[in-house]
Symmetry: C2
Subunit: 422 residues, 2 copies
């Protein structure tokens, strides 16, 4: 489909207007009304599984033709189980507590004004994502539960799947009382359309980009709308001088190997020289036993003669693979400095039996989530008890770390008076 | 001073690096340490009042030469009282509770992990502002108290004043233990420098632009750093059918006339037709008695024959002057629709004795602060009990409405384990 930029603009502005109106109606919906819509949307996905699989097959065929890797094709694929997974996600969203309407604080001023700070929906949220079509349903469900309208822009490789999912979400939602325009998907997947979308600050209140580094950078650079980035996870684990050997090895292996392709896995291991002396060799052996390639500094090579020497690039790289860079440090301060220099402010852990070192690390490492004596793999909305997450923010404003329903709301001040004037 | 863009870039990057380092040290400072710095900075401004006035005289002379209005020159002027005012602001900041280190929530997960959500400084904050040189001290004081380094960029008309204030703030602060680089001011006031500054996302975590609409729009469009806009206040007061006549008149006059040049003054009055019938004439008389020019629709002109007819432009204009646009509406719903269409999401009030109408208005009007039976003039950090404010956010993310010390912090998750793996 070739369309002119003017056509895209005109259509997108119409979508924006529709979304703003829908958001106003959504903000007035009760929890029960929203939950019914979510349940009906879940039913609709299951009821139309056959058509969804057929449309998905078109994406898979095109993907194969375009030479997508097996891993990419797997991420793209929708089978009965994955369709059921989307439905379950929507039903779970319906069961989570409504984040809207919470009184966050209440004060009475000397002049008698009562000021209530109350959580409210953000308005219209734009989600820009790649490959996985299940994000279409997951993101829509969470945005709706928090009272927001959503404009989705998925990747070109999943366009048929995304369109059919969005169609049934919208149809079933509207039939159950959802305002038309609450769930909309861009029919265009080219960069031009994204360029228009991220400048629609009159209509969209927040952009959440999820995907590769290039996509996120491009969105952040172009957008005139506030962006909450879900950026890379260049995470570290630091083994302090006083660390327990078994705990250190178990948390390293878990942080690196349990799922190396995710953002809360570690990429670099830092070890205090005293700990390295005592069990550096054991750590190296365990890593190798688990199939991990080690790239380390000269000091660690002593304990792991087979390792290659790490370059500056290694400390800057999110491998997302069974590769780890290792560096020996002189002190917790040096570890903190390394992390604040190379880290992506995601998840950082210290293994230590020294409470002073640990607290220093937790206080001075600048990251969304800092751990003492734990694997880094727990940075996740589910693990945090949020019920679900829209992603993990690597930004510092509004939402940091796992973003759940609460982070999809903002607040307003409701002020109650009896005729106060100033 | 003419400098090349490369020179500006190189200098600004150095400032950025310095600020990042200073922010890391600041985050580790105790409340007492920060307070001592603030007090010494206050002393330094008072002790050097003479030099500050001399530098200010240069700005005033240049301003006169450049034909600045009397109002502008007055905003620019620093006398002993205003210098004392800056010092008092810094001392007040030292007395406010430290917003850093608050445990916002604490949960223990089934696996034994204890997750604490703790307030922390944002890091480096860039403040871009115009004319008033007192912002240099006020903004620096609040940013520091919240543990942030600050990079200030004031207007060209106040450059001599800003430079001397920043110099003494920095000198006194550093002598009292503040890291060098915690308070920095751009020596260039041209747009090029702003253009560089708002793209320094490696160094600056938040940009707060304060000033005219054009400045704020330009910053929001160019910035790759999150921006919290302190935009215009196009505020409304709606007189419901059931409103008390005296309360309506008192709050209208207060909202419009007490200080017409500020952002929480109203620009448009909406009146239910039934209320207009009963006391529309009285409202018009009181407004005229207070020197307010009325621009209204045909319906209100019945009660105010002298008024001119309002155009669409009137409903879109922030007069910041003794002018008001007036429109008669059929219902609270129509008032809400008007406000959501024309308002700047700042401060909106309903005067009503009908609790249902009032709650509908508070819930459905999309603004940072919504009032029932009150003047709109209370949207202010001081009036809200925040002690001080960096401004009033018209954005929806991170901070909405009056921004105090708490809004100058973010949070991190500190997670305490005993060797948990996933």
């Amino acid at each position: 489909m070739t369309v002119s930029i003017e056509e895209i603009k005109s259509e997108l502005y119409k979508m924006g207007e529709k979304a703003v109106k829908a958001a106003q109606s959504l903000a007035a919906m009760t929890t029960d009304q929203k939950n019914i819509c979510l349940e009906k949307m879940a039913d609709a996905l299951e009821a139309n599984a056959q058509e969804i699989k057929e449309q998905n097959a078109l994406d898979l065929a095109a993907g194969k033709e375009n030479g997508l890797s097996d891993a990419m094709l797997d991420r793209l694929k929708l089978d009965d189980e994955r369709i059921k997974g989307m439905a379950i996600g929507l039903r779970e969203a319906s069961e989570l507590p409504d984040p809207v309407g919470t009184v966050l604080s209440e004060t009475e001023r000397p002049n008698g004004l009562v000021i209530k700070k109350v959580s409210v929906p953000i308005g219209v949220i734009g989600i820009i994502y790649e490959s996985r079509p299940n994000v279409t349903a997951d993101a829509a469900g969470l945005c709706l539960k928090a009272g927001n309208a959503v404009i989705l822009r998925g990747g070109s490789e999943a366009i048929h799947s995304n369109l059919v999912i969005a169609k049934y979400l919208n149809e079933a939602g509207v039939a159950a009382g959802l305002p038309d325009g609450a769930v909309q998907l861009l029919p265009w997947t080219d960069r031009q359309a994204v360029g228009v979308m991220v400048k629609m600050d009159e209509y969209i209140n927040l952009i959440i980009p999820r995907g590769g580094e290039r996509l996120i950078k491009a969105v952040a650079e172009q957008s005139t709308i506030p962006v909450i980035k879900h950026y890379k996870g260049l995470c570290h684990l630091y083994v302090d001088a006083s660390a327990d050997k078994d705990m250190a090895i178990a948390t390293i292996i878990n942080s690196k190997c349990q799922r190396p392709g995710v953002c809360n896995a570690i990429e670099t291991l830092l070890i205090h020289k005293d700990a390295a002396k005592v069990f550096g060799k054991n750590i190296a052996e365990e890593l190798i036993k688990n199939g991990v390639e080690i790239r380390c500094d000269e000091l660690f090579k002593e304990y792991c003669p087979k390792a290659t020497i790490a370059t500056e690039d290694d400390y800057n790289e999110e491998y997302l693979d069974l590769i780890i860079s290792v560096r020996v440090v002189d002190s917790v301060e040096e570890a903190i400095e390394h992390i604040n220099k190379y880290g992506s402010m995601h998840s950082e852990s210290i293994i230590s039996n020294d409470a002073v070192s640990a607290e220093k690390f937790l206080n001075l490492v600048d990251a969304s989530t800092v751990y003492h004596n734990s694997s880094t793999r727990f940075t996740d909305g589910g693990e945090f008890g949020f019920g679900a997450e829209i992603g993990i923010s690597t930004d510092k404003l509004h939402a940091r770390g796992p973003m759940g329903l609460v982070e999809l709301t903002t607040y307003k001040y409701k002020v109650y008076g009896t005729g106060q004037i100033r």
